[in-house]
């Protein structure tokens, strides 16, 4: 090594400079990536930060010092807590209903040929691409015309309707990568179609179903536009928050928002850790062979 660098005069300087340049000069891609991440994280950071804001007036717009009292008093506003309870109740029901229906639809569409399959596919896409405002207002006319009392049931029905396509798409993506021959193998080993579905198809679909459940829950607990049309006098969390903006949104809203965000984050990190651990175990076992 020593002789080589001594013999070639240029060789000595070119190598180190190349190595350091990587750290010294961040390229455009790095800057761009950081900017995008900042853009995405800024609203969330503001939400988290203002949950710790020691506000005195009605408005939570200026930083006035750090406090944890909003966390202590998170359920102090009765109406807000009530709205949150309604939201959680409806969202859990929507999640269960939309995920179960979505799973069955996904399996039907992905695995079988039947009359009306094309129409169902088209309706799913149309559902996603339609304007929420238009859907909301037409649902309102529908419910009024059909004489259905507006309230928790109509919110539930509307939210199930717009959540199903997302559940179907998520689960179909999982189904597409499953080996359909495993189902034939189950039949070959004596399993009836029903037994095959519960012992072979469903367990393999679990990650997709889990994803669909999270997604439909998030869509449901978050929805404002469609819900606002069909809610009648019922208040959900987003409806209450929107209504509160005129007289000043209390910091508890930031706290609740932060908590919901943290739960989502934990779920995401948790599933990442599980996947990583499984991969590592697989690699370890295979390399030990």
């Amino acid at each position: 090594m020593k002789t080589a660098s001594a013999v070639v005069p240029g060789g000595e300087s070119t190598l180190p400079s190349k190595a350091t340049s990587k750290f010294k000069r961040p390229d455009m891609l790095h800057i761009y990536t950081l900017l995008v991440m900042a853009f995405l994280l800024l609203p969330i950071s503001a939400m988290v930060l203002f949950g710790f804001n020691n506000t005195r007036g009605r408005f939570n717009l200026q930083w006035q010092g750090f406090t944890l009292r909003w966390y202590r008093d998170v359920f102090a506003i009765g109406q807000l807590t009530g709205a949150l309870k309604v939201s959680l109740f409806i969202s859990v029901l929507v999640m269960l209903t939309a995920t179960i229906m979505g799973t069955l639809m996904a399996v039907a569409i992905q695995r079988y040929r039947f009359f009306g399959k094309g129409i169902i596919n088209a309706v799913l896409v149309m559902n996603i691409s339609s304007s929420s405002v238009v859907i909301g207002s037409s649902l309102l006319s529908l419910f009024v015309a059909a004489n259905v009392a507006l309230g928790q049931f109509t919110i539930f029905a509307a939210q199930v309707m717009f959540s199903i396509p997302y559940a179907v798409i998520t689960i179909r993506a999982r189904l597409a990568v499953l080996d359909p021959v495993t189902e034939e193998a189950a039949a070959d080993l004596g399993a009836t179609p029903l037994k095959t579905f519960f012992t072979i198809t469903l367990p393999q679909l679990a990650p997709g179903i889990f994803g669909a459940a999270l997604l439909t829950f998030a869509l449901s607990i978050d929805d404002y536009v469609i819900t606002s049309f069909v809610s009648g006098t019922t208040l959900t969390f987003p409806l209450w928050v929107y209504g509160s903006t005129r007289e000043g949104t209390p910091p508890q809203v930031n706290v609740i928002g932060t908590l919901i965000f943290m739960i989502g984050l934990l779920v995401a990190i948790g599933s990442g850790v599980v996947r990583e651990r499984r991969n590592r175990r697989r690699l370890a076992v295979l390399s030990a062979n």
Binding site: D179, E184, A187, G190, A191, T199, R282, V285, N289
Partner: protein, 383 residues
């Protein structure tokens, strides 16, 4: 019952024999005039095939010949368009896979990825509501049989290709099927492992005594492993017989050329004796061919495998009466190491290929050399 057999050298022979199968006569499978059409495509046409109990039979043919469709009809994954399938004399056409005493080793193995090796193997027994103590005994036996004892807690993705293959085999065998179907089970393995698994599959088949129906497109694999080979082409059964029979006495041009190389020659019938026909070739040399083929008028088509022909300098050999001899000129000599291949052009322009072991260094004859080709009359086959 197999579960109570003590663990000894003989125990494996009964692992898959089942409670009622001791007479060894079950596992007889018959296809009667089976046809399968997919809209306008005929995948299998008028197939008649009897699979004997306890035999290792291969369905051999190029891709698209209908061998896999045939296997899927046996397993219950496809229904024949017409015809019947009988297992031990009982019609099973129309029965779903889960009502057939037949198990399958799939080409892709199709192991259940969310279950470990043990759970994969016990899956079929659980569906049959077999007592858990017996599940343990039987699963334990097959795990031993395929040599996977240390791996029972692993998930399929944590196994190598060869190990996955064994799990697939164990998972099927543990059910003591009357017939085991294998759909190109070795095609995903590398050559070395493949050779090893061929021998092992054959050993396991002999040990458990179950009829194996083995689908393959590899003629060498079919010949090494099978008791009988059923050659298929374009949805039709070409010929069924022992590996020696179909190799040495092919009945159709397809069988002759699909199983190794063959020189197919034409001649004119002159006369016949008890064993042989005398045939005149285009170059007017007269030779003897076995009197076994169909003779359509005076034209006779016959074949000789390249390794059955010996090549020598003219007049070098003393010959028996039943040996054919024709003259030719070497057009090409290719050295392979263990043997050489010679292309020899007869005086009428027909090209014949000959393999000969390399007794000396390099090729024994060079291009342009006049040679004599000799073969025993009964080493040829008449189509």
């Amino acid at each position: 019952m197999g579960a109570q057999v003590d663990v000894g050298n003989e125990s494996t022979s009964r692992v898959a024999a089942g409670a009622t199968d001791h007479d060894g006569r079950s596992g007889h499978l018959a296809l009667e005039n089976v046809t399968k059409r997919f809209s306008d495509f005929v995948a299998v046409e008028n197939l008649d095939l009897a699979i004997r109990s306890g035999e290792f039979i291969s369905l051999l043919g190029p891709s698209g010949c209908g061998k896999t469709t045939t296997l899927r009809m046996l397993g219950g994954f496809e229904e024949p368009t017409s015809g019947r399938i009988l297992l031990d004399g009982v019609e099973i056409t129309g029965l779903p896979p889960y009502r057939r005493d037949i198990n399958t080793v799939f080409q892709s193995y199709a192991l259940f990825p969310h279950l470990d090796v043990w759970e994969n193997i016990a899956y079929g027994l659980k569906r049959k509501k077999i007592a858990s103590s017996e599940i343990n005994t039987r699963a334990g036996e097959v795990v031993e049989l395929v040599g996977l004892s240390q791996f029972t807690k692993r998930k399929p993705r944590e196994l190598s290709g060869g190990q996955q293959q064994r799990v697939a085999l164990a998972r099927a065998l543990v059910n003591r099927p009357k017939v085991l179907l294998l759909d190109e089970p070795l095609s995903a393995l590398d050559v070395k492992l493949r050779k090893q698994m061929q021998l092992e599959l054959k050993r396991i088949q002999r040990d458990v005594g179950v009829s194996f129906v083995f689908v393959t497109h590899d003629q060498e694999e079919a010949m090494t492993m099978s008791d009988r080979v059923a050659v298929m082409s374009k949805g039709r059964l070409e010929q069924v017989g022992s590996p020696q029979e179909i190799y040495s006495r092919p009945e159709t041009e397809f069988v002759a050329t699909f199983l190794g190389a063959a020189n197919l020659l034409r001649g004119t019938f002159i006369s016949s004796s008890a064993e042989f026909w005398k045939v005149k070739l285009a170059n007017s040399s007269e030779i003897l061919v076995p009197a076994t083929g169909k003779r359509d008028g005076v034209e006779v088509i016959f074949g000789v495998r390249p390794e059955k022909i010996s090549i020598s300098k003219p007049g070098e050999r003393r010959l028996a009466d039943t040996t054919n001899r024709i003259a030719g000129r070497v057009s090409q000599a290719v050295f392979f190491g263990v043997a050489s291949q010679y292309q020899v052009v007869l005086t009428d322009g027909t090209e014949v290929s000959v393999y000969q072991q390399n007794f000396a260094d390099g090729v024994s004859h060079v291009a342009g050399e006049e040679v004599e080709l000799c073969w025993q009359a009964d080493a040829a086959f008449t189509l």
